[in-house]
Protein backbone atom coordinates (compact mmCIF):
# COMPACT_ATOMS: atom_id res chain seq x y z
CA UNK A 1 0.00 0.00 0.00
CA UNK A 2 2.56 2.53 1.17
CA UNK A 3 4.85 1.45 -1.62
CA UNK A 4 2.27 2.00 -4.34
CA UNK A 5 1.50 5.44 -2.89
CA UNK A 6 5.02 6.70 -3.36
CA UNK A 7 5.35 4.90 -6.68
CA UNK A 8 3.16 7.57 -8.23
CA UNK A 9 5.23 10.37 -6.70
CA UNK A 10 8.38 8.76 -8.10
CA UNK A 11 6.76 8.68 -11.55
CA UNK A 12 5.86 12.37 -11.30
CA UNK A 13 9.38 13.34 -10.22
CA UNK A 14 10.89 11.23 -13.00
CA UNK A 15 8.60 12.78 -15.60
CA UNK A 16 9.44 16.29 -14.37
CA UNK A 17 13.18 15.52 -14.59
CA UNK A 18 13.01 14.06 -18.10
CA UNK A 19 10.39 16.39 -19.53
CA UNK A 20 12.71 19.32 -20.43
CA UNK A 21 14.35 17.05 -23.03
CA UNK A 22 11.08 17.06 -24.93
CA UNK A 23 10.07 20.68 -24.46
CA UNK A 24 11.15 22.45 -27.61
CA UNK A 25 10.10 26.03 -27.05
CA UNK A 26 8.82 28.61 -24.60
CA UNK A 27 5.25 27.76 -25.47
CA UNK A 28 5.72 24.16 -24.34
CA UNK A 29 7.40 25.27 -21.12
CA UNK A 30 4.62 27.76 -20.49
CA UNK A 31 1.96 25.07 -20.86
CA UNK A 32 3.73 22.73 -18.42
CA UNK A 33 4.28 25.51 -15.89
CA UNK A 34 0.59 26.41 -15.95
CA UNK A 35 -0.29 22.72 -15.59
CA UNK A 36 1.90 22.55 -12.49
CA UNK A 37 0.39 25.70 -10.98
CA UNK A 38 -3.12 24.37 -11.53
CA UNK A 39 -2.12 20.98 -10.17
CA UNK A 40 -1.01 22.52 -6.86
CA UNK A 41 -4.26 24.50 -6.55
CA UNK A 42 -6.30 21.42 -7.38
CA UNK A 43 -4.42 19.34 -4.80
CA UNK A 44 -5.58 21.79 -2.13
CA UNK A 45 -9.11 21.96 -3.49
CA UNK A 46 -9.33 18.17 -3.68
CA UNK A 47 -8.47 17.92 0.01
CA UNK A 48 -11.56 20.03 0.61
CA UNK A 49 -13.93 18.53 -1.98
CA UNK A 50 -12.71 14.97 -2.32
CA UNK A 51 -11.52 14.14 1.16
CA UNK A 52 -13.64 16.37 3.37
CA UNK A 53 -16.65 16.28 1.02
CA UNK A 54 -17.25 20.05 1.10
CA UNK A 55 -17.83 21.78 -2.23
CA UNK A 56 -16.43 25.23 -3.00
CA UNK A 57 -17.65 27.07 -6.10
CA UNK A 58 -15.75 30.24 -5.25
CA UNK A 59 -12.21 29.04 -4.94
CA UNK A 60 -10.90 31.31 -7.66
CA UNK A 61 -11.66 34.18 -5.28
CA UNK A 62 -8.80 33.04 -3.06
CA UNK A 63 -6.49 32.80 -6.06
CA UNK A 64 -7.50 36.36 -6.84
CA UNK A 65 -6.62 37.47 -3.30
CA UNK A 66 -3.12 36.07 -3.65
CA UNK A 67 -2.63 37.44 -7.15
CA UNK A 68 -3.78 40.95 -6.25
CA UNK A 69 -1.99 40.99 -2.90
CA UNK A 70 1.24 40.34 -4.80
CA UNK A 71 0.43 42.82 -7.55
CA UNK A 72 -0.73 45.65 -5.29
CA UNK A 73 1.73 45.31 -2.41
CA UNK A 74 4.77 45.03 -4.67
CA UNK A 75 3.79 47.92 -6.96
CA UNK A 76 1.89 50.43 -4.80
CA UNK A 77 3.73 49.76 -1.55
CA UNK A 78 7.11 48.41 -2.70
CA UNK A 79 6.93 45.24 -0.62
CA UNK A 80 9.33 42.41 -1.47
CA UNK A 81 7.49 39.67 -3.43
CA UNK A 82 7.80 37.01 -0.74
CA UNK A 83 6.35 39.29 1.93
CA UNK A 84 3.49 40.23 -0.39
CA UNK A 85 2.84 36.56 -1.10
CA UNK A 86 2.79 35.78 2.62
CA UNK A 87 0.45 38.70 3.28
CA UNK A 88 -1.90 37.45 0.55
CA UNK A 89 -1.85 33.93 1.95
CA UNK A 90 -2.54 35.29 5.44
CA UNK A 91 -5.42 37.40 4.15
CA UNK A 92 -6.93 34.46 2.25
CA UNK A 93 -6.51 32.19 5.26
CA UNK A 94 -8.04 34.76 7.59
CA UNK A 95 -11.02 35.36 5.32
CA UNK A 96 -11.52 31.60 4.96
CA UNK A 97 -11.36 31.17 8.74
CA UNK A 98 -13.86 33.99 9.29
CA UNK A 99 -16.46 32.70 6.85
CA UNK A 100 -15.83 28.99 7.41
CA UNK A 101 -17.90 28.58 10.55
CA UNK A 102 -21.14 30.03 9.22
CA UNK A 103 -20.52 28.51 5.78
CA UNK A 104 -19.95 24.97 6.99
CA UNK A 105 -23.17 24.95 8.92
CA UNK A 106 -24.59 24.72 5.41
CA UNK A 107 -24.81 21.59 3.32
CA UNK A 108 -25.12 20.59 -0.31
CA UNK A 109 -26.61 23.25 -2.52
CA UNK A 110 -26.65 25.88 0.21
CA UNK A 111 -22.92 25.42 0.69
CA UNK A 112 -22.43 25.64 -3.08
CA UNK A 113 -24.44 28.87 -3.13
CA UNK A 114 -22.54 30.47 -0.23
CA UNK A 115 -19.08 29.73 -1.66
CA UNK A 116 -20.22 30.85 -5.10
CA UNK A 117 -21.48 34.11 -3.58
CA UNK A 118 -18.21 34.70 -1.77
CA UNK A 119 -16.25 34.18 -5.00
CA UNK A 120 -18.51 36.59 -6.89
CA UNK A 121 -18.16 39.33 -4.29
CA UNK A 122 -14.37 39.04 -4.39
CA UNK A 123 -14.29 39.10 -8.20
CA UNK A 124 -16.58 42.12 -8.40
CA UNK A 125 -14.51 44.00 -5.82
CA UNK A 126 -11.36 43.33 -7.86
CA UNK A 127 -13.08 44.63 -10.97
CA UNK A 128 -14.37 47.78 -9.27
CA UNK A 129 -11.51 48.99 -7.09
CA UNK A 130 -9.75 50.33 -10.18
CA UNK A 131 -7.54 52.75 -8.22
CA UNK A 132 -5.67 49.77 -6.81
CA UNK A 133 -6.41 46.91 -9.20
CA UNK A 134 -6.50 48.67 -12.55
CA UNK A 135 -10.13 47.59 -12.95
CA UNK A 136 -11.21 45.15 -15.66
CA UNK A 137 -8.01 45.83 -17.64
CA UNK A 138 -5.83 44.45 -14.87
CA UNK A 139 -2.37 45.54 -13.81
CA UNK A 140 1.26 44.53 -14.36
CA UNK A 141 3.20 42.60 -11.71
CA UNK A 142 6.95 42.76 -11.05
CA UNK A 143 9.02 39.58 -11.53
CA UNK A 144 9.49 37.20 -8.64
CA UNK A 145 12.74 37.52 -6.74
CA UNK A 146 14.08 35.40 -3.90
CA UNK A 147 16.87 36.93 -1.83
CA UNK A 148 18.19 38.94 -4.74
CA UNK A 149 17.84 36.10 -7.25
CA UNK A 150 15.24 36.91 -9.85
CA UNK A 151 13.20 34.08 -11.31
CA UNK A 152 12.98 34.94 -14.96
CA UNK A 153 12.33 32.96 -18.08
CA UNK A 154 10.39 29.76 -18.60
CA UNK A 155 13.25 27.43 -17.70
CA UNK A 156 13.79 28.91 -14.24
CA UNK A 157 10.05 28.87 -13.58
CA UNK A 158 9.86 25.29 -14.79
CA UNK A 159 12.29 24.07 -12.15
CA UNK A 160 10.69 26.13 -9.41
CA UNK A 161 7.26 24.76 -10.21
CA UNK A 162 8.57 21.21 -10.62
CA UNK A 163 9.94 21.44 -7.09
CA UNK A 164 6.77 23.03 -5.67
CA UNK A 165 4.58 20.41 -7.34
CA UNK A 166 6.67 17.48 -6.09
CA UNK A 167 6.65 18.81 -2.55
CA UNK A 168 2.91 19.45 -2.70
CA UNK A 169 2.16 15.91 -3.90
CA UNK A 170 4.41 14.48 -1.19
CA UNK A 171 2.81 16.66 1.49
CA UNK A 172 -0.71 15.74 0.36
CA UNK A 173 0.09 12.02 0.42
CA UNK A 174 1.44 12.33 3.94
CA UNK A 175 -1.41 14.48 5.11
CA UNK A 176 -3.97 11.94 3.96
CA UNK A 177 -2.15 9.19 5.78
CA UNK A 178 -1.98 11.21 9.00
CA UNK A 179 -4.61 11.24 11.77
CA UNK A 180 -5.77 14.55 10.28
CA UNK A 181 -6.40 12.91 6.90
CA UNK A 182 -8.19 9.96 8.44
CA UNK A 183 -10.43 12.35 10.36
CA UNK A 184 -11.25 14.15 7.09
CA UNK A 185 -12.16 10.93 5.36
CA UNK A 186 -14.28 9.84 8.30
CA UNK A 187 -16.06 13.17 8.09
CA UNK A 188 -16.78 12.61 4.41
CA UNK A 189 -18.18 9.17 5.15
CA UNK A 190 -20.52 10.28 7.89
CA UNK A 191 -20.35 13.45 9.93
CA UNK A 192 -22.44 12.07 12.73
CA UNK A 193 -20.46 8.85 13.00
CA UNK A 194 -17.17 10.75 13.10
CA UNK A 195 -18.58 13.07 15.74
CA UNK A 196 -19.57 10.07 17.80
CA UNK A 197 -16.03 8.69 17.75
CA UNK A 198 -14.70 12.04 18.88
CA UNK A 199 -13.74 13.93 15.71
CA UNK A 200 -14.23 17.68 16.13
CA UNK A 201 -16.06 17.99 12.81
CA UNK A 202 -16.25 21.77 12.63
CA UNK A 203 -12.60 22.29 13.54
CA UNK A 204 -11.46 19.92 10.80
CA UNK A 205 -13.69 21.48 8.18
CA UNK A 206 -12.44 24.96 9.05
CA UNK A 207 -8.82 23.78 9.04
CA UNK A 208 -9.05 22.16 5.61
CA UNK A 209 -10.92 25.13 4.13
CA UNK A 210 -8.28 27.54 5.42
CA UNK A 211 -5.52 25.29 4.13
CA UNK A 212 -6.97 25.02 0.63
CA UNK A 213 -7.55 28.80 0.58
CA UNK A 214 -3.90 29.39 1.50
CA UNK A 215 -2.75 26.94 -1.22
CA UNK A 216 -4.89 28.81 -3.74
CA UNK A 217 -3.69 32.24 -2.63
CA UNK A 218 -0.01 31.30 -2.84
CA UNK A 219 -0.52 29.88 -6.31
CA UNK A 220 -2.37 33.07 -7.21
CA UNK A 221 0.72 35.06 -6.20
CA UNK A 222 2.92 32.69 -8.18
CA UNK A 223 0.72 33.02 -11.27
CA UNK A 224 0.76 36.81 -11.00
CA UNK A 225 4.57 36.96 -10.82
CA UNK A 226 5.01 34.33 -13.50
CA UNK A 227 2.62 35.89 -16.01
CA UNK A 228 3.68 39.41 -15.03
CA UNK A 229 0.11 40.60 -15.30
CA UNK A 230 -3.13 40.06 -13.44
CA UNK A 231 -6.77 40.67 -14.45
CA UNK A 232 -9.98 40.14 -12.48
CA UNK A 233 -10.57 37.03 -14.60
CA UNK A 234 -8.34 35.02 -12.23
CA UNK A 235 -11.12 35.28 -9.65
CA UNK A 236 -14.17 34.77 -11.83
CA UNK A 237 -16.82 32.10 -11.56
CA UNK A 238 -15.69 30.25 -14.65
CA UNK A 239 -12.22 29.79 -13.20
CA UNK A 240 -13.73 28.33 -10.01
CA UNK A 241 -15.72 25.92 -12.13
CA UNK A 242 -12.64 24.92 -14.10
CA UNK A 243 -10.87 24.06 -10.86
CA UNK A 244 -13.76 22.01 -9.50
CA UNK A 245 -13.91 20.25 -12.86
CA UNK A 246 -10.22 19.39 -12.64
CA UNK A 247 -10.88 17.81 -9.24
CA UNK A 248 -13.83 15.80 -10.45
CA UNK A 249 -12.41 14.69 -13.81
CA UNK A 250 -9.13 13.58 -12.29
CA UNK A 251 -10.96 11.90 -9.46
CA UNK A 252 -12.29 13.09 -6.15
CA UNK A 253 -10.22 12.02 -3.16
CA UNK A 254 -7.32 11.04 -5.38
CA UNK A 255 -4.00 12.87 -5.06
CA UNK A 256 -2.76 11.68 -8.43
CA UNK A 257 -6.20 12.36 -9.87
CA UNK A 258 -5.72 16.03 -8.99
CA UNK A 259 -2.52 16.15 -11.01
CA UNK A 260 -4.05 14.29 -13.95
CA UNK A 261 -7.16 16.48 -13.92
CA UNK A 262 -5.10 19.67 -13.85
CA UNK A 263 -2.83 18.47 -16.67
CA UNK A 264 -5.73 17.43 -18.92
CA UNK A 265 -7.91 20.47 -18.38
CA UNK A 266 -5.03 22.90 -18.81
CA UNK A 267 -4.14 21.24 -22.10
CA UNK A 268 -7.73 21.01 -23.31
CA UNK A 269 -8.22 24.65 -24.39
CA UNK A 270 -4.98 24.39 -26.42
CA UNK A 271 -6.23 21.23 -28.10
CA UNK A 272 -9.59 22.85 -28.76
CA UNK A 273 -8.13 26.04 -30.21
CA UNK A 274 -8.22 24.38 -33.60
CA UNK A 275 -12.04 24.22 -33.46
CA UNK A 276 -12.34 27.96 -33.88
CA UNK A 277 -15.44 29.30 -32.21
CA UNK A 278 -16.50 25.85 -31.06
CA UNK A 279 -14.22 25.72 -27.97
CA UNK A 280 -17.02 26.47 -25.50
CA UNK A 281 -19.28 23.82 -27.03
CA UNK A 282 -16.52 21.23 -27.02
CA UNK A 283 -15.45 22.07 -23.46
CA UNK A 284 -19.03 21.75 -22.21
CA UNK A 285 -19.59 18.49 -24.09
CA UNK A 286 -16.40 16.98 -22.68
CA UNK A 287 -17.41 17.94 -19.13
CA UNK A 288 -20.78 16.28 -19.58
CA UNK A 289 -19.41 13.13 -21.19
CA UNK A 290 -16.74 12.69 -18.51
CA UNK A 291 -19.26 13.10 -15.73
CA UNK A 292 -21.79 10.76 -17.31
CA UNK A 293 -19.41 7.97 -18.20
CA UNK A 294 -16.67 8.38 -15.57
CA UNK A 295 -18.47 9.85 -12.56
CA UNK A 296 -15.68 8.73 -10.24
CA UNK A 297 -13.03 10.47 -12.30
CA UNK A 298 -10.23 9.12 -14.45
CA UNK A 299 -7.65 7.96 -11.93
CA UNK A 300 -9.96 6.06 -9.53
CA UNK A 301 -11.78 4.46 -12.49
CA UNK A 302 -8.52 3.33 -14.09
CA UNK A 303 -7.15 2.20 -10.74
CA UNK A 304 -10.25 0.09 -10.19
CA UNK A 305 -9.87 -1.38 -13.71
CA UNK A 306 -6.29 -2.33 -12.95
CA UNK A 307 -7.52 -3.98 -9.78
CA UNK A 308 -5.48 -1.82 -7.50
CA UNK A 309 -7.02 0.23 -4.76
CA UNK A 310 -5.64 3.74 -4.72
Amino acid sequence: MRKSRYFGLAVIVAVLLVLPLFLQNGFHYDLVIRMAINAVIVLGLNLLIGFAGQISLGHAGFIGIGAYASAILTSHFNWPPLAAMAAGAAAAGLLAALVARPIFKLKGHYLAMATLGLGFILAIAMKNEAAYTGGPDGMPVVPMSLAGWEIAGEKAWYWVMALVLSISVWASLNLIDSPFGRALRALHGSEVASQVVGVDVVRYKVAIFVMSAVFASIMGSVTAHYVGFVTPNVADFFHSIELVTMVVIGGMASVYGSVVGAVLLTALPQALATFEGWETVAFGAILMLCMIFLPKGLVPTLAAKLGRSE
Partner: protein, 291 residues
Amino acid sequence: MLAQFLQFLFSGVTVGATYALAALGFTLIYNASNVINFAQGEFIMLGGMLAVFFSQMGLPMPVALTLAILVPAVVGVVVEKLAIEPVKGAETVTLIIITIGASLVIRGLIQVWLGKGTFSLPAFSGNEPIEVLGATLQPQSLWVLGVTALVVVGLWYFFNRTLYGKAMLATSYNRLASELVGINTNWVLFISFAMSAALGALGGILVTPITLTSYDVGIMLGLKGFVAAVVGGLGNGLGAVLGGLLVGVVEAMAAGYISSAYKDAVPFVLILLILFFMPRGLFGAKVTDRV
Protein backbone atom coordinates in the same frame (compact mmCIF):
# COMPACT_ATOMS: atom_id res chain seq x y z
CA MET B 1 -37.43 61.61 -2.76
CA LEU B 2 -40.58 59.56 -3.19
CA ALA B 3 -40.32 59.74 -6.97
CA GLN B 4 -36.76 58.47 -6.85
CA PHE B 5 -37.68 55.69 -4.47
CA LEU B 6 -40.58 54.64 -6.68
CA GLN B 7 -38.31 54.70 -9.71
CA PHE B 8 -35.89 52.28 -8.06
CA LEU B 9 -38.78 50.17 -6.82
CA PHE B 10 -40.26 49.84 -10.32
CA SER B 11 -37.02 48.79 -11.90
CA GLY B 12 -36.33 46.42 -9.01
CA VAL B 13 -39.70 44.72 -9.19
CA THR B 14 -39.41 44.38 -12.98
CA VAL B 15 -36.03 42.62 -12.93
CA GLY B 16 -37.15 40.82 -9.79
CA ALA B 17 -40.01 39.25 -11.72
CA THR B 18 -37.50 37.75 -14.17
CA TYR B 19 -35.47 36.39 -11.25
CA ALA B 20 -38.70 35.00 -9.84
CA LEU B 21 -39.43 33.11 -13.06
CA ALA B 22 -35.89 31.73 -13.09
CA ALA B 23 -36.18 30.82 -9.41
CA LEU B 24 -39.43 28.99 -10.10
CA GLY B 25 -37.56 27.05 -12.78
CA PHE B 26 -34.87 26.05 -10.28
CA THR B 27 -37.56 25.07 -7.78
CA LEU B 28 -39.48 22.88 -10.24
CA ILE B 29 -36.41 20.88 -11.21
CA TYR B 30 -35.07 20.73 -7.66
CA ASN B 31 -38.35 19.33 -6.41
CA ALA B 32 -38.55 16.71 -9.12
CA SER B 33 -34.96 15.55 -8.96
CA ASN B 34 -32.88 17.29 -6.26
CA VAL B 35 -30.79 18.69 -9.11
CA ILE B 36 -29.79 22.35 -9.20
CA ASN B 37 -29.86 23.07 -12.89
CA PHE B 38 -27.02 25.50 -13.55
CA ALA B 39 -28.19 25.70 -17.18
CA GLN B 40 -31.34 27.53 -16.07
CA GLY B 41 -29.86 30.91 -16.98
CA GLU B 42 -29.20 29.70 -20.53
CA PHE B 43 -32.93 29.15 -21.03
CA ILE B 44 -33.51 32.81 -20.15
CA MET B 45 -30.89 33.72 -22.75
CA LEU B 46 -32.40 31.29 -25.30
CA GLY B 47 -35.84 32.85 -24.86
CA GLY B 48 -34.59 36.35 -25.58
CA MET B 49 -32.20 35.41 -28.38
CA LEU B 50 -34.68 33.13 -30.18
CA ALA B 51 -37.45 35.72 -29.91
CA VAL B 52 -35.12 38.18 -31.64
CA PHE B 53 -34.11 35.60 -34.24
CA PHE B 54 -37.64 34.44 -35.09
CA SER B 55 -39.04 37.97 -35.23
CA GLN B 56 -36.19 39.09 -37.50
CA MET B 57 -37.02 36.14 -39.75
CA GLY B 58 -40.28 38.00 -40.39
CA LEU B 59 -42.58 35.70 -38.40
CA PRO B 60 -45.55 37.48 -36.81
CA MET B 61 -44.79 38.42 -33.18
CA PRO B 62 -47.14 35.92 -31.47
CA VAL B 63 -45.72 33.04 -33.53
CA ALA B 64 -42.14 34.15 -32.94
CA LEU B 65 -42.68 34.41 -29.19
CA THR B 66 -44.44 31.07 -28.96
CA LEU B 67 -41.59 29.40 -30.83
CA ALA B 68 -39.10 31.17 -28.54
CA ILE B 69 -40.78 29.45 -25.59
CA LEU B 70 -41.32 26.05 -27.21
CA VAL B 71 -37.79 25.58 -28.55
CA PRO B 72 -36.11 26.13 -25.15
CA ALA B 73 -38.64 23.73 -23.61
CA VAL B 74 -37.53 21.08 -26.12
CA VAL B 75 -33.89 21.89 -25.34
CA GLY B 76 -34.69 21.45 -21.64
CA VAL B 77 -36.17 18.03 -22.32
CA VAL B 78 -33.16 17.03 -24.41
CA VAL B 79 -30.81 18.06 -21.58
CA GLU B 80 -32.86 15.99 -19.15
CA LYS B 81 -32.95 12.91 -21.41
CA LEU B 82 -29.31 12.94 -22.44
CA ALA B 83 -27.55 14.27 -19.36
CA ILE B 84 -29.65 13.99 -16.21
CA GLU B 85 -31.56 10.73 -16.58
CA PRO B 86 -28.45 8.57 -17.18
CA VAL B 87 -26.85 9.69 -13.89
CA LYS B 88 -29.84 9.68 -11.59
CA GLY B 89 -28.78 9.67 -7.94
CA ALA B 90 -25.22 10.80 -8.62
CA GLU B 91 -23.35 13.05 -6.18
CA THR B 92 -24.28 16.72 -5.99
CA VAL B 93 -20.94 17.85 -7.41
CA THR B 94 -21.31 15.52 -10.41
CA LEU B 95 -24.78 16.85 -11.19
CA ILE B 96 -23.66 20.45 -10.79
CA ILE B 97 -20.84 19.91 -13.28
CA ILE B 98 -23.09 18.13 -15.78
CA THR B 99 -25.55 21.02 -15.82
CA ILE B 100 -22.67 23.51 -16.09
CA GLY B 101 -21.44 21.49 -19.07
CA ALA B 102 -24.91 21.70 -20.60
CA SER B 103 -24.98 25.46 -20.10
CA LEU B 104 -21.60 25.83 -21.84
CA VAL B 105 -22.83 23.78 -24.79
CA ILE B 106 -26.01 25.86 -25.15
CA ARG B 107 -24.17 29.18 -24.81
CA GLY B 108 -21.43 28.06 -27.19
CA LEU B 109 -23.91 26.94 -29.85
CA ILE B 110 -25.79 30.25 -29.71
CA GLN B 111 -22.50 32.15 -29.90
CA VAL B 112 -21.48 30.21 -33.02
CA TRP B 113 -24.94 30.49 -34.58
CA LEU B 114 -26.08 34.04 -33.73
CA GLY B 115 -22.79 35.73 -32.93
CA LYS B 116 -21.63 37.87 -30.04
CA GLY B 117 -23.80 40.91 -30.76
CA THR B 118 -26.29 42.54 -28.42
CA PHE B 119 -29.92 42.41 -29.54
CA SER B 120 -33.19 43.97 -28.56
CA LEU B 121 -36.89 43.37 -29.10
CA PRO B 122 -39.47 46.12 -29.62
CA ALA B 123 -41.56 46.69 -26.49
CA PHE B 124 -44.90 44.84 -26.73
CA SER B 125 -47.06 47.94 -26.40
CA GLY B 126 -44.98 50.96 -27.21
CA ASN B 127 -42.48 53.00 -25.25
CA GLU B 128 -44.81 55.71 -23.97
CA PRO B 129 -43.82 55.93 -20.29
CA ILE B 130 -46.51 56.06 -17.64
CA GLU B 131 -46.20 58.75 -14.97
CA VAL B 132 -46.77 57.53 -11.40
CA LEU B 133 -46.21 60.08 -8.61
CA GLY B 134 -43.30 61.63 -10.46
CA ALA B 135 -41.67 58.33 -11.38
CA THR B 136 -41.92 56.79 -14.83
CA LEU B 137 -42.98 53.26 -15.54
CA GLN B 138 -42.27 51.53 -18.84
CA PRO B 139 -45.31 49.75 -20.30
CA GLN B 140 -43.07 46.73 -20.79
CA SER B 141 -42.64 46.55 -16.99
CA LEU B 142 -46.38 46.05 -16.72
CA TRP B 143 -46.12 43.19 -19.22
CA VAL B 144 -43.36 41.58 -17.18
CA LEU B 145 -45.28 41.90 -13.92
CA GLY B 146 -48.64 40.94 -15.38
CA VAL B 147 -47.40 37.83 -17.14
CA THR B 148 -45.39 36.77 -14.10
CA ALA B 149 -48.47 37.14 -11.91
CA LEU B 150 -50.49 35.04 -14.39
CA VAL B 151 -47.79 32.37 -14.39
CA VAL B 152 -47.76 32.24 -10.59
CA VAL B 153 -51.55 31.87 -10.46
CA GLY B 154 -51.42 29.26 -13.21
CA LEU B 155 -48.75 27.26 -11.41
CA TRP B 156 -50.67 27.47 -8.15
CA TYR B 157 -53.73 26.09 -9.90
CA PHE B 158 -51.68 23.38 -11.60
CA PHE B 159 -50.05 22.15 -8.40
CA ASN B 160 -53.08 22.38 -6.16
CA ARG B 161 -56.03 21.55 -8.38
CA THR B 162 -54.87 19.16 -11.10
CA LEU B 163 -53.91 15.51 -10.92
CA TYR B 164 -50.65 16.05 -12.86
CA GLY B 165 -49.60 18.87 -10.58
CA LYS B 166 -50.33 16.82 -7.49
CA ALA B 167 -48.36 13.91 -8.95
CA MET B 168 -45.37 16.25 -9.33
CA LEU B 169 -45.72 17.50 -5.76
CA ALA B 170 -46.00 13.94 -4.48
CA THR B 171 -42.79 13.02 -6.30
CA SER B 172 -40.95 15.89 -4.65
CA TYR B 173 -42.05 14.72 -1.20
CA ASN B 174 -41.19 11.07 -1.66
CA ARG B 175 -40.12 9.55 -4.95
CA LEU B 176 -40.35 5.92 -3.91
CA ALA B 177 -43.79 6.27 -2.35
CA SER B 178 -45.00 8.07 -5.47
CA GLU B 179 -43.76 5.26 -7.67
CA LEU B 180 -45.58 2.79 -5.43
CA VAL B 181 -48.90 4.55 -5.94
CA GLY B 182 -48.36 4.49 -9.69
CA ILE B 183 -46.89 7.89 -10.49
CA ASN B 184 -44.51 7.81 -13.43
CA THR B 185 -41.63 9.73 -11.85
CA ASN B 186 -39.62 9.76 -15.06
CA TRP B 187 -42.48 11.62 -16.67
CA VAL B 188 -42.45 14.07 -13.77
CA LEU B 189 -38.75 14.72 -14.33
CA PHE B 190 -39.38 15.20 -18.04
CA ILE B 191 -42.21 17.70 -17.51
CA SER B 192 -40.25 19.59 -14.84
CA PHE B 193 -37.41 20.29 -17.23
CA ALA B 194 -39.80 21.32 -20.02
CA MET B 195 -41.73 23.63 -17.71
CA SER B 196 -38.71 25.20 -16.07
CA ALA B 197 -37.02 25.83 -19.43
CA ALA B 198 -40.24 27.40 -20.72
CA LEU B 199 -40.53 29.62 -17.62
CA GLY B 200 -36.94 30.77 -17.99
CA ALA B 201 -37.44 31.49 -21.70
CA LEU B 202 -40.62 33.42 -20.95
CA GLY B 203 -38.75 35.59 -18.46
CA GLY B 204 -35.99 36.13 -20.99
CA ILE B 205 -38.42 37.23 -23.69
CA LEU B 206 -40.34 39.61 -21.42
CA VAL B 207 -37.28 41.40 -20.13
CA THR B 208 -35.37 41.66 -23.42
CA PRO B 209 -37.05 44.92 -24.56
CA ILE B 210 -35.84 46.52 -21.29
CA THR B 211 -32.43 44.98 -20.63
CA LEU B 212 -31.38 43.77 -24.12
CA THR B 213 -29.89 40.32 -24.66
CA SER B 214 -26.77 38.60 -25.94
CA TYR B 215 -25.35 35.08 -25.91
CA ASP B 216 -23.75 35.55 -22.48
CA VAL B 217 -26.52 37.09 -20.35
CA GLY B 218 -27.54 33.67 -19.03
CA ILE B 219 -24.89 33.18 -16.35
CA MET B 220 -25.70 36.24 -14.26
CA LEU B 221 -29.47 35.99 -14.68
CA GLY B 222 -29.38 32.29 -13.84
CA LEU B 223 -27.21 32.74 -10.78
CA LYS B 224 -29.40 35.53 -9.49
CA GLY B 225 -32.40 33.27 -10.04
CA PHE B 226 -30.57 30.65 -8.01
CA VAL B 227 -29.95 33.24 -5.27
CA ALA B 228 -33.66 34.05 -5.33
CA ALA B 229 -34.58 30.37 -5.04
CA VAL B 230 -32.22 29.93 -2.09
CA VAL B 231 -33.42 33.15 -0.42
CA GLY B 232 -36.93 31.76 -0.57
CA GLY B 233 -35.82 28.37 0.67
CA LEU B 234 -35.02 25.80 -2.03
CA GLY B 235 -38.07 23.90 -3.16
CA ASN B 236 -40.60 26.45 -1.96
CA GLY B 237 -42.55 27.87 -4.94
CA LEU B 238 -44.01 30.91 -3.22
CA GLY B 239 -40.67 31.51 -1.53
CA ALA B 240 -39.03 31.52 -4.97
CA VAL B 241 -41.35 34.26 -6.23
CA LEU B 242 -40.94 36.42 -3.13
CA GLY B 243 -37.18 35.71 -3.19
CA GLY B 244 -37.00 36.88 -6.80
CA LEU B 245 -38.82 40.13 -6.09
CA LEU B 246 -36.76 40.74 -2.95
CA VAL B 247 -33.46 40.18 -4.78
CA GLY B 248 -34.57 42.48 -7.60
CA VAL B 249 -35.68 45.28 -5.28
CA VAL B 250 -32.66 45.10 -2.97
CA GLU B 251 -30.39 45.13 -6.01
CA ALA B 252 -32.12 48.18 -7.52
CA MET B 253 -32.11 50.05 -4.21
CA ALA B 254 -28.44 49.33 -3.60
CA ALA B 255 -27.61 50.38 -7.17
CA GLY B 256 -29.57 53.59 -6.74
CA TYR B 257 -28.63 54.64 -3.23
CA ILE B 258 -25.23 53.03 -2.62
CA SER B 259 -23.17 52.12 -5.67
CA SER B 260 -24.15 51.01 -9.12
CA ALA B 261 -20.71 49.46 -9.66
CA TYR B 262 -21.46 46.92 -6.94
CA LYS B 263 -24.97 46.17 -8.23
CA ASP B 264 -24.08 42.61 -9.25
CA ALA B 265 -22.49 41.89 -5.87
CA VAL B 266 -25.66 42.78 -3.97
CA PRO B 267 -27.58 39.51 -4.47
CA PHE B 268 -24.54 37.56 -3.31
CA VAL B 269 -24.04 39.69 -0.18
CA LEU B 270 -27.74 39.26 0.51
CA ILE B 271 -27.58 35.49 0.14
CA LEU B 272 -24.52 35.19 2.38
CA LEU B 273 -26.19 37.22 5.13
CA ILE B 274 -29.38 35.23 4.87
CA LEU B 275 -27.59 31.88 4.84
CA PHE B 276 -25.39 32.83 7.78
CA PHE B 277 -28.36 33.69 9.94
CA MET B 278 -31.08 31.51 8.42
CA PRO B 279 -29.33 28.50 6.88
CA ARG B 280 -32.50 27.27 5.13
CA GLY B 281 -33.43 30.57 3.50
CA LEU B 282 -36.26 32.85 4.55
CA PHE B 283 -39.09 30.44 3.90
CA GLY B 284 -37.32 27.08 3.93
CA ALA B 285 -38.73 24.16 5.84
CA LYS B 286 -37.02 22.96 8.99
CA VAL B 287 -35.23 19.75 8.13
CA THR B 288 -33.67 17.32 10.51
CA ASP B 289 -31.02 14.98 9.17
CA ARG B 290 -31.66 11.31 9.35
CA VAL B 291 -28.63 9.25 10.19
